[in-house]
């Protein structure tokens, strides 16, 4: 047993994590926030969402679904960027591969943790998903595939740690395919709902996979630089070059998302699909305009693109700022996508009296605690990962 573990947890080599009071306190704080989030989540399940969450009959999916989407899309993306190096053999992407695999596990686990509180009778999932399996349901496929994905990902990571590279990259390929299948099904959960015109459309699964690749590239830069900063490590030339390559990928992917966003907007504004038009107006010039222009466009797309292009991905500090704000922007994208898709009531435009033109939703304290708790959980395991896996260094053989 011990020798097995020793193979997984390196005792020496790699980078020694910094041991400072500030770092310990930070970790303690993250742990506390995570526990608070979990307690709030459990309470919401016991007391019922009716009394604890802002979700309603009209808007049954709230910020926790958005948060789930945020984390699992990042996880899939990290899996994609890790595979470029250690499955497909592109050397430039090697140095980030191990960290990406580990964080992919952390991010998907965070996603699962958060959604367990949004699914109001989530404890029935274990039995229900097996006994009642519905093969026409995208959400069934998404959940099942992501379940396998998590397991395979752990196997892949263990193989990587043990230096069994052949097995690890075979595993990596399986994980990649499962992850992409799961992720596109998540897109289909939204895209295949006729009658929810803001979501509906065959491009949704493709948009999700593209978003994943974008998030993955952005997130691995963010996490890597953060790891080096908090631990005071010196970045090797190889790692710097690697980050530069990832940054170029990030620029390309961000540009594609700009393209998507632009055409979705134009199509929605010029088209007359009932509901989509109204939702888009709310986004462009209504109650969600701050989210869209400041969150999605400025933080999520324009600023990161400008910063990455201006420094050509070479300045580490700029890389960090660019990816940090891009992550914030991405959260806005997920939030707006999930919430706005539900805001136009089904019987709108029929001249109804006392009937809202828009539903409204705002997250309650319980929901906010779960979101913060999830982020803290993710942050804590990121820091622990750096410590126990000694900077996730990739050996050169």
């Amino acid at each position: 047993m011990n020798t097995h573990l020793a193979g997984i947890f390196p005792r020496s080599g790699g980078l020694e994590a910094r041991r400072s009071t500030t770092l310990t306190l930070t970790m303690a704080l993250l742990a506390l926030l995570a526990v608070a989030g979990i307690v709030a989540g459990i309470h919401s399940l016991v007391a019922g969402h009716e009394h604890t969450f802002g979700v309603s009959r009209g808007v049954p999916w709230g910020i926790l679904i958005a948060t789930y989407v945020f984390f699992v899309v990042i996880s899939t993306g990290l899996c994609i960027v890790s595979s470029i190096g250690h499955v497909f053999g592109f050397k430039e992407f090697m140095p980030i591969a191990k960290r990406a695999v580990f964080l992919s596990i952390v991010n998907i686990s965070t996603g699962f943790l958060v959604i367990a509180f949004e699914i109001e009778s989530s404890w029935r999932m274990v039995v229900g998903n097996v006994v009642g399996a519905n093969l026409t349901s995208n959400i069934w496929w998404m959940g099942t595939l992501y379940g396998f994905y998590l397991v395979l990902m752990v196997v892949e990571f263990v193989m990587l740690q043990k230096g069994r590279h052949g097995l690890a990259s075979a595993c990596g390929l399986a994980v990649l395919l499962t992850g992409i299948a799961a992720n596109s099904n998540l897109g289909a959960v939204f895209g295949l709902l006729n009658g929810q015109w803001f979501w509906q459309g065959p491009y949704m699964p493709i948009y999700f996979v593209t978003s994943a690749a974008t998030s993955g590239a952005v997130a691995i830069i963010f996490y890597t630089v953060l790891a080096y900063k908090v631990n005071g490590w010196q970045m090797s030339e190889a790692m710097k070059q690697s980050l530069g390559s990832v940054a170029r990928l990030a620029v390309l992917m961000l540009a594609i998302i700009v393209f998507f966003t632009f055409w979705r907007t134009v199509a929605g504004v010029t088209g007359s699909a009932p509901g989509r038009h109204e939702a888009l107006l709310a986004l462009l010039n209504g109650p969600y305009r701050f989210n869209f222009w400041a969150g999605e466009v400025l933080l999520g797309l324009v600023l990161p693109l400008v910063l990455l292009l201006a420094t050509r991905g070479r300045n580490i500090n700029v890389l960090f700022v660019a990816t940090l704000i891009a992550m914030v922007g991405m959260f806005f994208m997920r939030y707006d996508l999930v919430i706005l898709g539900q805001l136009v009531p089904p019987y709108h435009g029929m001249g109804l009296v006392d009937y809202p033109e828009f539903y409204s939703y705002s997250p309650t304290l319980h929901e906010q605690l779960v979101v913060v708790g999830g982020a803290a959980f993710c942050g804590l395991f990121f820091l622990l990962g750096e410590r126990f896996f000694r900077g996730h260094l990739v050996d050169s053989h």
Partner: protein, 253 residues
Amino acid sequence: MNDKDVQRREELGPDRRQEISSLERRALLKLGFAISGVFLGGSVLSLVSVRKADAAGAPVIGGYPYNPHYTMVIRERHCIDCELCKEACVKTNGVPAYGYRTTILEKRRALEEGKFETTFMPVLCNHCNNPPCVRVCPTTATWKDKTTGIVGIYRPSLCIGCKTCMTACPYNARYFNEERRAIDKCDFCFASRLSKGEKTTACAAACPADVRVFGNLADHGDRVYRLLHAPETLIWVLRPETGAVPNVFYVNT
């Protein structure tokens, strides 16, 4: 369905109502009608008798998919918003205060200057022939019964509360029941009445204005059949564009 459409169609008169595209014809067929008629403006449809449809060379499809094919016809303009149907539903089916299985919406349309006409529009689960809620449910907690066509939460113990069906339903017919920890919705009173031998739903039985007519569309002698096949009747359904193929029909006769 837009109320203005009904008004406009009514003003058009029977002759002009025949001007329909093949697309609209197909949409009507998809609704599962044995008799084809005219389907107007993408949302208003009008049926003619079998004989007339045949004579007109309109396509006819065979029968209704279920038997009994439970259907509700809402005679909308007769609704007075007394809400006795809601009360009866709540009592019969143990619906909690925060939820509803059926409700009444209020429509207002402008007549000549300064005058309005108010109509009340009862809504409930449409027991769709192509129910999006059923397709998305990961655990098959909800399905459409093969005999009756009633969409219900037949296995609440499998409902995980993911609420995907709520987002999928084009009619906002579902709510999460905190006591049962599962989704609840109109089941045409199957559990509370039909399965015990009653012939109609609690809401239809309670309505003093005879607005809600419940019955078997596959039975040519049934009142719902006759209401829906009366010549030159304007019939419409809600949100036909979603392709859910609803089984709650609205008329003003």
